[in-house]
Symmetry: C2
Subunit: 253 residues, 2 copies
Amino acid sequence: MHFTSETSSDGVIERTFILDGITGVLWSPASGTTGAPLLLSGHAGGMHKKAPGLLAGALHCVTTYGFTVAAVDAPGHGDRPRNQQDQRWAEAIHAALAADEPIAPIVVEYNRSLAERAVPEWQAALDALQALPEIGAETPIGFGGMTLGVVTGLLLAAADSRIAALSLGGVFVDDALIEAARKVTVPVEYRIPWDDENMDRDSGVALFDAIASKEKTLHAHPGRYNQVPEYERDSSARFFARHLGGVAETVSY
Amino acid sequence: MHFTSETSSDGVIERTFILDGITGVLWSPASGTTGAPLLLSGHAGGMHKKAPGLLAGALHCVTTYGFTVAAVDAPGHGDRPRNQQDQRWAEAIHAALAADEPIAPIVVEYNRSLAERAVPEWQAALDALQALPEIGAETPIGFGGMTLGVVTGLLLAAADSRIAALSLGGVFVDDALIEAARKVTVPVEYRIPWDDENMDRDSGVALFDAIASKEKTLHAHPGRYNQVPEYERDSSARFFARHLGGVAETVSY
């Protein structure tokens, strides 16, 4: 893992890194990170490691809770070149959107392929992050994501016991994702859009039901998958603080 | 409104009161209440103004957020005599439980009657509370409740514009409650049990859909209606703080 840049702003240190072609970013509190959890943040399909919503959530977690947050570009996303097969999937999605045809069948196939490649990449990134002296092997780890990040998070949590809690957003659900969810036993907070013409409620609820965790909670919000109310950002951070531990907090209303 | 007792413990002042035969209790921070919201807390059917869950939630709101919390006994509950019709309903519920028959049809009828009587009582209590110098007419007001308290809260919010936010738990839903929900436009946080043999998911979701509020959120938790996870207590308090304002807060994990 090579750090390629370091900036500091409003109490947050942002470091970009590269690891075997995987481009990533690490946000940490300028005041230090002793014992605070590490959150891995999986961006949505078509987005990148510094997508606006991901960035806002990361900065909130760092400044309010003292967490460290890491994000990497998914294969073919952000600063990473896209291969021909991924290019075909992306074009098929755009064509379906243009033709007003359902994109779900294409997205689930594309996401599945991306997530299967992303899991070992996240594991390698996690190895490298744990080797950093300011993080170490004992830091509790959570994963948060939406759409593609949900698929990645569920597969990663099913495969790697270092993931101790999952905060998830809306996602296109297929049988394979349901099967992955059945292997997940860590605490989960899962938020689904209640009025999304593409992501139907029933499949979201079916995924919630499949999650094998004893502690799981479903949050439904009005609107589409990308209209997550701002207060859910803090709910997610508090979910992680509850399960991973955290630092003293002062919030004013 | 006559105060009948006053005790103080762990930074909370508890005062019991009586108003035209309505027995109630008021919890407030010993450090004062300047500008902090007033929460009205509606107990479940068969319970009373100091039911364990209600009390735990009230103390959390007072000690962590500086809120004032008021609860009154529903008609025929707690310290209030039960009339003959209510007695028949209560006996019918016990008989149905003993015979392993569904209680929902009886409970919805009983709750409806109790809530219709409770609404003007809450309004009278609210008048009296607002006349207290430490509360006043400008204090923002929220209502929280479960089962019977949900019916009461929805009817009260539909009838009285002083109720600015509603935090609700599980409830037996009938068409009349759906109709009441359609008149509610204030922010709502509604939590439903996901595995309750008596309160089916579909009716809970139908009630959520009927609520006319632009800002509403649904939380589903594993287990029965009375197995609400402890973290939902703080979620509810934060929901009120978000919508009603509140005081600076310090929480450690």
